[in-house]
């Protein structure tokens, strides 16, 4: 298991390096090739030549690309000094550069936005996994019953509704009309857990409802298939009671295909948080990404992309570890 963990962590680091390389290439090298001046993006179109030269010097934009790349990567674990002589600005680790727009360290912004996105995705994921699997299992065991049909029709409805629609309705009802919930659109880590939960509860439920629907259908289908397996019959032939057959033998096998999809969905959810965060006006990575792109804020785009990639990779790592715990063939593989 330890060997498996080390292998997987290695893979995550390699993946992150590839992401850095790709984003760096797209945002720093491509503009240069197409004749755009990054210093202009930073300082604005009306800056004088001298000012631009100063910026180039300070940001190291005249250095060879490889050196720029190396400085950037090195800055993440070690921090980085911009400029030379008297005019030195220190950017502490993890240094992702300075925003062109706010002139604050990128990390400062990302640091506040990342927890919002993670809490949003994580909370919703736990809810939908538990809810979807429970409904799916019960449906499978009561196949063809009133409950089964009702659950599957509801699930079909859930699968076909877009988040901005359900989200708007939920907010309209609970926040604006009833006033039961008030949502904080400037969440930071300094806020209390109560504030976090109150702000997150609607997005969690709405997101989880949409996803749980899909998981309920998947769980039901998988469970029915697993119940037809030979080893389930073997368990019954041993005299194992039916609840134990379901819990110990059937559910465990049912979880593997679900976890595979779960890993992918978690990635999509974190990476595509823009839609949810915009709908619910949450200050997460998705919102920052939109602002950064609109402001042509290259360092911020790079920073947000990198953090999103890291979050997705870690989420997938967790899912893969769960997978390995469930299926010995994966870790012994």
């Amino acid at each position: 298991m330890l060997a498996y963990l080390i292998r997987r962590l290695g893979a995550v680091i390699v993946m992150l390096l590839v992401v850095i390389l790709t984003t760096f290439f797209i945002f720093y090298v491509l503009p240069k090739w197409s004749g755009q001046d990054i210093a202009v993006l930073f300082a604005g179109k009306n800056s004088g030549a001298e000012q631009l030269e100063g910026i180039r010097q300070k940001l190291g934009l005249s250095d060879p690309l490889l050196v720029q790349f190396w400085e950037f990567v090195k800055g993440i674990p070690l921090g980085r000094d911009y400029g030379s002589g008297d005019d030195v600005t220190h950017c502490g680790a993890p240094c992702l550069g300075y925003s062109f727009r706010t002139e604050l360290p990128v990390w400062e912004t990302v640091k506040d936005a990342l927890p919002v996105t993670l809490a949003l995705a994580g909370g919703a994921a736990v809810l939908w996994l538990i809810g979807g699997v429970t409904v799916g299992v019960v449906s499978a065991l009561k196949r063809g019953s009133f409950w089964d049909r009702g659950a599957m029709i509801t699930a079909l409805g859930g699968v076909s509704m877009p988040i901005f629609f359900t989200g708007m309705i939920a907010m309209g009802v609970f926040v604006h009309s009833l006033g039961w919930i008030s949502m904080d659109d400037s969440l930071t880590t300094k806020d209390s857990i109560g504030t976090w939960v109150e702000t997150m509860i609607l997005p969690w439920i709405v997101l989880a409802f949409l996803q749980a629907a899909m998981y309920a259908r998947l769980t039901r289908a998988t469970m029915l298939e697993v119940l037809g397996e030979d080893y389930i019959r073997t368990a019954r032939a041993k005299g194992v009671t039916e609840p134990v057959v379901i819990r110990r033998h059937a559910l465990r096998s049912t979880m593997t295909p679900i976890l595979t999809v779960f890993g992918l969905d978690l990635g999509i959810l974190i990476g595509g948080a823009i839609l949810t965060e915009t709908t619910f006006n949450l200050p997460g990575l998705g919102q920052e990404a939109v602002k950064a792109i609109q402001g042509k804020d290259l360092p911020m785009i790079l920073g947000v992309t990198l953090c999103t990639a890291l979050a997705i990779a870690l989420a997938n790592l967790v899912v893969d570890l769960m997978y390995a715990v469930i299926d010995p063939r994966v870790r012994l593989g």
Partner: protein
């Protein structure tokens, strides 16, 4: 086949239903297992009776689809356990195990007998073992369902059983997973698991079909040795007469969900009465005969179990279907009749016709 003689009468006579508890250890009376499906009622087992004593082995033989597995699952009570939302199998008849009728017993009571009084070995040990649990865990579970002991004791028992079925280094292999075992080792582990509670009845459903030829003989030897040691009653199910030739005291030949012939193994082998049995014997692989000299395996395909042919179910495939008078084979279903003590067969051919066909046409080609 040395000690066949003494067991000659164990298959016994067909018994009228509703008679009192039998003296035999296992007695199945007029068992019917029907499955309602969209295409119609599948009569997988349609009136099967037999007896089995402790220490005896009964071989059930028949082509695939003849109802052998459905019979064994029926005895184990596995057509009723955990059939979520499926259309229920219709089961009737009587299954007496050690003086207790199982079909009228509370299902949870039958569950308690499963794995303890009666155990089963399946055809494909790879799919029959749970891929996510170690061999040891699965045997421990089988033991602890019926014995109130801690895990350590059960694990010791599991290692002991693995050792008994010939798995080398059982104390290490106990922690291996099914996919880390070879096919033969997996079947050994499966046998260890089925015997962990010393069951009185062991049902082996095609235990060697999924294995290499070289391993098959070892597994059969193992089952025979274990039976001698544990003294349990064994039902061995197979489509290969060669398998039961080695092991069985009595043989029951199934066709289309019914018994067409049954009797002491040596009778069924050396004086078979039913044309279907002749066909099975003819399709048995033999080392001492050239392929070309052998009888052709039973021609045609097994009957539909939804629309079983009227009269004798075998008549569409039987080369002798026209011999009995008045088209009787296609209209009247032949009942089991006793040709020798304990030797029963269901065919309209007269004893003289059978004698002649067997000695003149069939036996010389075997």
């Amino acid at each position: 086949m040395s000690d066949l003689k003494k067991t000659g009468a164990a298959v016994g006579e067909p018994v009228a239903t509703d008679s009192p508890a039998p003296s035999a250890f296992l007695e199945v009376r007029d068992l019917k297992v029907h499955f309602p499906t969209d295409d119609g009622l599948v009569k997988s087992v349609d009136g099967l009776s037999f007896q089995l004593e402790k220490g005896q082995t009964l071989g059930i033989v028949g082509e695939s689809g003849s109802g052998k597995s459905v019979t064994s699952l029926g005895i184990m009570g596995l057509h009723t356990a955990g059939q979520y939302g499926k259309r229920k199998a219709q089961i009737s008849g009587e299954i007496w195990l050690d003086g207790q009728e199982l079909l009228s017993t509370d299902p949870d009571e039958v569950r308690r007998l499963r794995g303890r009084e009666m155990a089963m070995i399946f055809q494909d040990p790879l799919s029959a073992l749970h891929p996510y649990y170690s061999i040891g865990k699965q045997i421990v579970e089988a033991y602890r369902v019926h014995h109130d002991v801690d895990k350590k004791t059960a694990r010791k028992r599991a290692i002991e059983m693995l050792d008994r079925v010939g798995i080398p280094q059982p104390d290490k292999r106990v922690d291996a997973y099914p996919h880390e075992f070879s096919g033969g080792m997996r079947q050994r582990a499966m046998i260890a698991m089925s015997l962990v509670n010393n069951p009185e009845l062991l049902i082996a459903d095609e235990p060697t079909t999924a294995l290499d030829v070289t391993v098959q003989a070892q597994i059969l030897d193992l089952i025979r040795d274990l039976q001698k040691e544990f003294g349990s009653a064994v039902i061995i199910i197979t489509h290969d007469l060669g398998v039961v030739a080695e092991l069985a005291d009595n043989i029951l030949v199934m066709y289309g969900g019914r018994c067409v012939e049954r009797g002491p193994a040596e009778k069924v082998f050396y004086e078979p009465q039913h044309p279907y049995t002749w066909g099975l014997l003819g399709s048995m692989p033999r080392i001492d005969k050239e392929q070309t000299e052998r009888l052709i395996p039973v021609k045609g395909s097994p009957p539909s179990l939804i629309n079983i042919p009227s009269g004798c179910a075998f008549n569409p495939r039987c080369p002798y279907a026209d011999l009995p008078k008045d088209n009787v084979t296609r209209e009247v279903r032949p009942e089991l009749a006793e040709s020798d003590p304990g030797h029963w067969s269901a065919c309209h051919l007269s004893p003289e016709q059978r004698e002649r066909i067997w000695t003149e046409e069939i036996a010389p080609k075997l």
